[in-house]
Amino acid sequence: MPSAFQFQCHFILIFLAASKGETRYLEVRDASEDEPFLLLSEDLKRELSAGQIYRRSLRCIDMLSIEGQFTFTADQPQLHCATFFIGEPEELITIDYDFVNIDCQGGDFLKVFDGWILKGEKFPSSLDHPLPTSQRYIDFCESGNIQRSIRSSQNVAMIFFRIHQPGNGFTITVKKNTNLFPCNVISQTPSGRFTMVIPHQHRNCSFSIIYPVVIKISDLILGHLNGLFLKKPSAGCAGVGDFVELLGGTGLDPSKMFPLADLCHSFHGSAQMKIGCDNTVLRMVSSGKHINRVTFEYHQLDLQEAENRKENSIEEFCFPSI
C-alpha cells in the first residue's frame, strides 16, 4: 500500500510538473503574440500592418473617436477651433505632438484640456477630477518642449487652437489605452450598457449620456461584495458615504445639474426612469471603505415614449438653457 501511495504521489507530482511545463509553453506563445493573426505569413502580416495608421486632415471643429494621425493646416486665420476626442468607456486618450508650427508669440495657441468643456461647463466636474482646472489645460506654448505626450484621465479630451498665419498648423497622433476601472465617462452612443466599479477608492465617478434617455438600473451594490457588511441607512441618503445619484440638466457639468434620484440601498432588480434632459448623468459617490458597483442600461428616449408619460418620468425638471 505504501508503494501504491508512493506511486500515486509520484504520478500526481509528474502530472503537476507536466502541466506546469505545458502552461509555460502557452504563456510563451501568448507573450510573443500581440498580433492575433498567428497563421499568417510574415509577408501577409507586413501587408496588413502597412496601411493601418489612419490619417486625415482636421477641421476647425471636429470630433475624433479613432486612433490615427491627424493634421490641421490653416488655409485662413482660424481663431476659434477645437477638436473633441472620445473613446470607449474603458479607454484613455493619448495625444502625441508629431509636428507643431504655430506662432506662440503672435497669439497662436494650442492647448489640451483633460476632459470636455462646453459653454464654460466641464466634464468631469471640478469635484470629480483629481486635478484643479488650471492644471487640466496643458498649453503647448508653455510646455511643448517638455510634454509632447499627454494622456487623459478619462475617455474624453479636447484641444483648443488658434492659428493666425495661413499655412501654419500641427500634426498629432491619437492613441488609446485601456483603463481598468473607468470612472468618468461620456457615452458615445445614446444606448448601451455599463457596469461602474469603484474598488475601495474615495472618489466620485460620473457616467454622462448627452441624450434624453430611459435608464434602467439593474444591479446596485454598495458595500462589500460578500454581503457581510452593507449600508443600511436609517432615513434617505443623507449622511451616507456611498450612494448613487441620477442627475439631469442642460449642461455638461454634473455639479450644476439637477438631482433627480438618490439610491443608497443595494438592490438587485430593475429600477427604470425616463429622463428627458439634454444630459443625463449617473454619479456614484464612494467613501473608499467599500467596493461599490452599479450596472445599468440605457436607450434613447424617443418622442413617443416621451409623450406616454407614466410614473418616474421627470421631463419637467429640465429647463431650457438661458
Partner: protein, 171 residues
C-alpha cells in the same frame, strides 16, 4: 583696430545666440504639409517683440476668456453654430480686442516701471479671474451631430479594416 574687432565680435555673438521664440517642432519630416520652420528673428527685433507681445498675448487671453464666459456674449464666429446661440457680429469682438489691446500700449512706452506695473496688473487680473474658461460655445444638438459623424467614421474605418483582413486571409 580694436573697435572693428569689438564690432565684429558683437555681430558674431548676436548671430550665434540661440533663438528660443520660434516653435517649429518637427518629429517626422514626412508629416509636415507646407511645413516651414519659423524664420530666425533678428535679436533686436526679438527683444522689442518680447517687450510688447507678452501684454498682447495676455490681453488676447483675457479677451478669449470674456468670450468664453457664460454670462457674456457668446462666440459668434463658428459657421456651424446655429443662429439662435449667437447674435454677435464677428467684427465686433475684433474691434473690442483692438480697443483693449491698444489701451495699455501708450503707457508702456513711458518706461520700465509702467511696463512692469501693467504686466503685474494683467497677471493679477488673470489670477483674480475664475478658472480659465477657454471653452467652446456649442449647443448639444451640434455636439451630437459631430459625435454621430465621428461614430460613422469609426464604423467605416472598422469596416475597411475588416474588409482588408478578409482580402488578406483569402490570399
Amino acid at each position: 583696430m580694436k573697435i572693428p574687432l569689438l564690432v565684429s565680435t558683437g555681430i558674431l555673438l548676436v548671430a550665434l545666440l540661440p533663438c528660443q521664440e520660434c516653435r517649429a517642432l518637427s518629429k517626422s519630416p514626412a508629416a509636415a504639409p507646407g511645413a516651414l520652420h519659423q524664420p530666425d528673428f533678428f535679436q533686436q527685433q526679438q527683444q522689442q517683440q518680447q517687450q510688447t507681445l507678452p501684454v498682447l498675448l495676455r490681453m488676447g487671453e483675457e479677451y478669449f476668456l470674456r468670450l468664453g464666459n457664460l454670462n457674456k456674449r457668446p462666440v459668434g464666429s463658428f459657421p456651424a453654430s446655429s443662429s439662435s446661440t449667437s447674435h454677435l457680429q464677428p467684427e465686433a469682438p475684433a474691434s473690442n480686442f483692438l480697443r483693449a489691446a491698444l489701451q495699455p500700449l501708450p503707457e508702456r512706452s513711458l518706461g520700465s516701471p509702467e511696463e512692469g506695473e501693467a504686466e503685474g496688473e494683467a497677471v493679477e487680473r488673470e489670477k483674480r479671474s475664475e478658472e480659465p474658461p477657454i471653452s467652446l460655445d456649442l449647443t448639444f444638438h451640434l455636439l451630437r451631430e459631430v459625435l454621430e459623424m465621428a461614430r460613422a467614421e469609426q464604423l467605416a474605418q472598422q469596416a475597411h479594416s475588416n474588409r482588408k483582413l478578409m482580402e488578406i486571409i483569402g490570399k
